[in-house]
Amino acid sequence: MSAMAKMSEEQALVERFRRGDDSAFDRIVERHSAELAALSNRLLGWPGDVDDVVQDVFVAAFTGLRAFRGQCCLRTWLFTIAINKCRSRRFRRRLRPVRVADMEAVAGLDHGGDKAAIDEEQAARVRRAVQTLPQKYREVVVLRYLQGLETAEICELLGTRVNAVQVRLNRARKRLKEQLGDLLEEKS
């Protein structure tokens, strides 16, 4: 399905929802929930359980869909909501005292001697490095390298200019290189 056909189909779904067809919203949820869950999981530092965030995104979408003007595609609009929800969730989490369980989940404490364990430890280190990036760098890194979005889409999502996104990406890469330089050399 081409992008244009996809957009027109989404527009039709929004129109149906506006006319009171509840099945249209079911279709929207079905189509975007997995992608929104993956994005939320990455933005929140891979906690795994993102059920609440995804539900919050769809609750906000349900409330605001009648006012959706169609200036961007539905996916972008939902991603924007998801980014905002993740920001507020991270902010609230920052206000909460950090639990030991959360730290262990992030760090991946199991230090086995085998190859799989070493890989897992390295992956956890990479994820920690991404998590410790400032919000504006972390978001562009996730959207660019993990969600695979183009710069133009990222600009639309974050409401910034292209060169601002590129600057953020450069700085984020620089920081990641500083932290993960040995791993990158190893890979190369």
Binding site: V29, S33, D51, Q55, F58, F62, V126, Y145, K177, K187
Partner: protein, 202 residues
Amino acid sequence: MSEEQIRKLLQDADATARGPVFGPIAAGRIRQRIHRRRVVRSAALTGAAAIVVIAAALWITCMRPQKTQPEQQRIVSLEAQVRQLQVQTNATLKLVQEILERDRQERHLASLEAELSSIPEPMMEIERQVDKTAFILVYQADKLYKELNQTESAVAAYKEVIQLFPKSRWADVAKERLSQIEERQINKSDTEGEPTCEPGTV
């Protein structure tokens, strides 16, 4: 260390991480959640409104006596002051009336006393009147005797003065005239002389 290496490293880390866990999301659940949220919001609003109303009612209940009590106390004290002033005014008026009455009585008494003082002593007046009457009788008797030459009437008048006013000096004068008349009658019978009377001696 190219961008691709970083992308590969990140994607590997992402692939080994825990995948997103979320339950089957249905629009029905979303609607239920929105409905629940609306109910909670309206309940919260209702609760807040109820709390505000209760707080306002409590505030009014607590503040009203505090606000009105001093006013009532002030009104009561003012009423007491007014009553006290009325009593004082009544007492003052009564006192003024008494003073005026006393003054009026005193003035009346003074006028009576003045009137009384203007009235001469009754006994003295009587004596004066008696004296005057006696003089008039003697004077008339003298006139009768000297000018009209009515000796009998004059003698009768002198006798009357002596009888009516025995203690007055005119009784003595009348006695003296009578004795003179007797002397003259005696002398007349002897010498045919005329009796004389001197009113200037009266």
